[in-house]
């Protein structure tokens, strides 16, 4: 509605956000969407509690993590506005998770391959 200010700086702001007119661009999430996400989060909480009481062997941890990732993604996309945000913000979040996964993954790989060698030694059976 306002005539676009002629400052060059305004041109790059339009790249990631289409309806740019130099105004503050608040993407407002509707109340119904917030409550919808809230409801789904509660349902998933119930699911993860119920499934954890069923013995699935090694699959329990993966189901629990899968549900937690879905819930976390919903929180990040809708409560934290990432769905409508600049992708840079999402990169910060995804990169953090990626490096944590890398860190844990490599540490686990190491633990997993050396554990059989460590276990039979007295250190593991005697008190520290």
């Amino acid at each position: 509605m306002n005539p676009a200010p002629s400052t060059p700086a305004h041109q790059d702001t339009g790249v990631s956000h289409a309806p740019d007119n130099g105004e503050h661009p608040p993407h407002v999430v509707s109340v119904s969407l917030l409550f919808g996400v809230y409801g789904i989060l509660l349902v998933f909480t119930a699911i993860t509690v119920v499934v954890s009481r069923i013995d699935l062997g090694n699959a329990n941890i993966w189901v629990a993590l899968f549900v937690a990732v879905i819930k976390g993604t919903l929180v990040a996309l809708y409560f934290m506005h990432l769905r409508w945000d600049s992708p840079f913000n999402a990169i910060a979040l995804v990169a953090a998770f990626f490096f944590v996964a890398l860190f844990i993954g490599l540490a686990m790989l190491d633990t997993h391959s050396y554990q059989p060698i460590i276990k039979p030694t007295p250190m593991a059976v005697t008190p520290h």
């Binding site: 702001t13 608040p26 917030l34 629990a64 506005h81 910060a92 953090a96 944590v100 520290h128």
Partner: protein
């Protein structure tokens, strides 16, 4: 300093926006300023995830090497109903916070304030439940470090807990005489100390100690002597816990305290974030009441909302990993 004044005056007539009072001189537009602040917040949240990542890594390694310990400790001492309740409370407070940001964006000041108060109430409720849980851990002697009955130092450091309070001889010794704790435990648990002795030899002594019947005998574990000392009024549940503990491998028995280290460090660091979050929400609540935010400027509300959602997000992972271990 000389450039600041001409820049500000140059921007004044150029941007005749009402929100120019919030615009720092090194930003071209309020939107650019808002996006920069938000990106900065996201980078901070990334470092928060990395910080928790270290604890999650320790958790993963110990759970992988001692799965029995984790299922024993979680099933024996953690309450799933309380954990679920806290999950629901935190998700609800995340909803009210997201709604408070929406209200701030739409200039609905009183609604925003009410929703922030509800968010604060959720945070307080979470901490109340957490306090109930932590007190239960204290009462069951599964607290941090030396106050954990599964810690090898428990009997040395907690001589008073070696016997039930009703026992007259210990209380008569403990109350009137200012005996150093070492000699007190010497007097009361000579057998325990003699069995623990090899531990004091240091790593070299440890390596030399053969894996004998003694080290696999559960009686030699300080934690179990603590349990049996309290057996006078041991509940059915406590007996079951002791029974299950006895059935575990010796290498697992010595690692039960590690689960509680993970539990208290992870929930403790998270709890500190909840307390900090309460302070931050109070701050934006006061500023909202003063009418400092509007649809033109609500950056602090938005950023603190992001922080609060991250606290929720981390709990979403902590809950199944700590409470829901099968």
């Amino acid at each position: 300093m000389s450039t600041a004044t001409p820049t500000a005056s140059a921007h004044g007539p150029d941007h005749d926006h009402a929100h120019s009072k919030h615009l720092a001189h090194h930003f071209d537009t309020p939107e650019q300023q808002f996006r920069s602040a938000k990106l900065g917040m996201w980078v901070f949240l990334g470092t928060e995830i990395l910080m928790f990542g270290g604890l999650f890594c320790a958790y993963s390694i110990y759970r992988h090497t001692h799965p029995e310990v984790f299922s024993f400790a979680a099933e024996s001492y953690l309450s799933i109903p309380l954990g679920t309740l806290n999950t629901v409370i935190l998700i609800s407070s995340s909803l009210t916070m997201a709604w408070a940001v929406r209200a701030a964006q739409l200039n609905q000041r009183m609604l925003s304030v009410v929703l922030m108060v509800l968010t604060l109430a959720g945070a307080a409720g979470f901490l109340v439940v957490k306090t109930i849980e932590y007190s239960a851990k204290w009462n069951e002697n599964v607290w941090v470090g030396q106050w954990n009955r599964y810690n090898a130092d428990f009997n040395d450091k907690n001589p008073a807990k070696l016997a039930p309070p009703a026992q007259p001889e210990l209380s008569s010794v403990a109350v009137p005489l200012p005996v150093p704790s070492a000699s007190l435990s010497d007097a009361n648990s000579v057998t325990d100390l003699s069995k623990i002795k090899p531990r004091d030899n240091g790593p070299a002594g440890l390596a030399a100690t053969p894996v004998s019947g003694k080290s696999t005998d559960w009686d030699s574990h300080p934690s179990i002597s603590a349990t049996s000392d309290l057996s006078g009024n041991e509940s059915e549940e406590a007996k079951k816990i002791t029974q299950r503990y006895k059935g575990m491998a010796a290498s697992d028995q010595w690692r039960v305290a590690t689960f509680f280290s993970c539990y208290f460090l992870m929930t403790g660091l998270h709890g500190i974030h909840v307390v900090v979050g309460m302070g931050l929400i109070t701050w934006i609540l006061i500023r909202s009441l003063k009418g400092e935010f509007s649809s033109e400027f609500y950056t602090p509300v938005d950023l603190i909302g992001l922080y609060w959602h991250l606290v929720d997000l981390i709990w979403i992972f902590l809950f199944p990993l700590l409470y829901l271990i099968h």
